[in-house]
């Protein structure tokens, strides 16, 4: 590395964008796990999932970002809101959302976070992403899905089929 730091080396715009979106995602995620209102938690989850799609764009993974918006923000969130309504969750503040000893989760999460932060900083502390990253060409992605990973793709199709049939069988009235 040269002694002079060029603006193109530290990629100011990308880093500022990353910071804003990451803060939004972390605040949203904290709201998902601490909110006392089920519907508010579901709406905070939308923020996190959309922010994740934006981060995928920063990582030059266009197709995955679009899929994330279609599948998560489009379909999964609608499913969640249906789940909230069909189980007649209390609209408004609900004090019964947490376990009795929910504070036990704090040390567990902080311990895992500490270990992971230490390991990640130790292993990848100053590794840079390639500066000339290009969006992943979709033909390359489809070649990867349909050539080396064809068998998992088939397995996944059967998983989806089984999930659809299983969900219908489980949720039927009779």
């Amino acid at each position: 590395m040269s002694a002079v730091v060029l603006a193109s080396d530290i990629e100011v715009a990308q880093n500022i964008g990353f910071g804003i979106i990451a803060t939004m995602m972390i605040v949203g995620a904290l709201k998902v796990v601490t909110s006392k209102n089920v519907v508010h938690a579901a709406l905070a989850l939308v923020v996190v999932l959309a922010g994740a799609a934006a981060q995928y764009l920063l990582l030059a993974a266009e197709f995955v970002a679009i899929t994330q918006v279609l599948v998560y923000v489009g379909a999964v969130m609608v499913l969640f809101l249906f789940g909230v309504m069909l189980t007649r969750a209390k609209l408004g503040v609900d004090t019964e959302l947490n376990n009795k000893n929910y504070l036990l989760g704090v040390p567990v999460a902080l311990l895992m976070l500490g270990v992971m932060v230490y390991v990640l900083l130790d292993g990848f502390g100053d590794t840079r992403l390639p500066a000339d990253r290009e969006p992943v060409p979709i033909w390359e992605l489809s070649d990867s899905i349909f050539k080396p990973y064809l068998l998992p793709f088939w397995a996944l199709s059967f998983v989806l089929l089984a999930a659809v049939i299983g969900a219908i069988v489980l949720a039927r009235k009779d």
């Binding site: 089920v38 989850l45 981060q55 995928y56 959302l97 504070l103 976070l113 989806l160 299983g166």
Partner: protein, 99 residues
């Protein structure tokens, strides 16, 4: 851009999701926390995919999105079934299998 930015964001989201799975009693909220965990894993996969200029990470991320969609469908069907039988989706009341 440092790759560790994305990895640390993934780690933070993962730990928040773990806290949610432990702390929440409402089954729908637990499923939401699991979504957080799956998304943090996707973030890591895409970061490493970009770091090594290898498209495999993108493929795995797509597969994880598909599996997560299937998981939510079946999970919510199970929650609805539990609700219909017990009029409650509180997870700590499901203790029939405790010896």
């Amino acid at each position: 851009m440092l790759v560790v930015n994305f990895l640390l964001l993934g780690a933070v989201l993962f730990c928040i999701g773990i806290y949610g799975v432990i702390a929440r009693r409402n089954a729908v909220m637990v499923l939401m926390s699991i979504e957080l965990i799956l998304n943090s894993v996707n973030l890591n996969l895409l970061a490493f995919s970009q770091l090594h200029s290898n498209v495999d990470g993108n493929t795995f991320a797509l597969y994880i999105i598909a599996v997560a969609a299937a998981e939510v469908g079946v999970g919510l069907a199970l929650v609805l079934l539990v609700y219909r039988n017990r009029k409650s989706i509180s997870l700590d009341e499901l203790s029939e299998m405790k010896g």
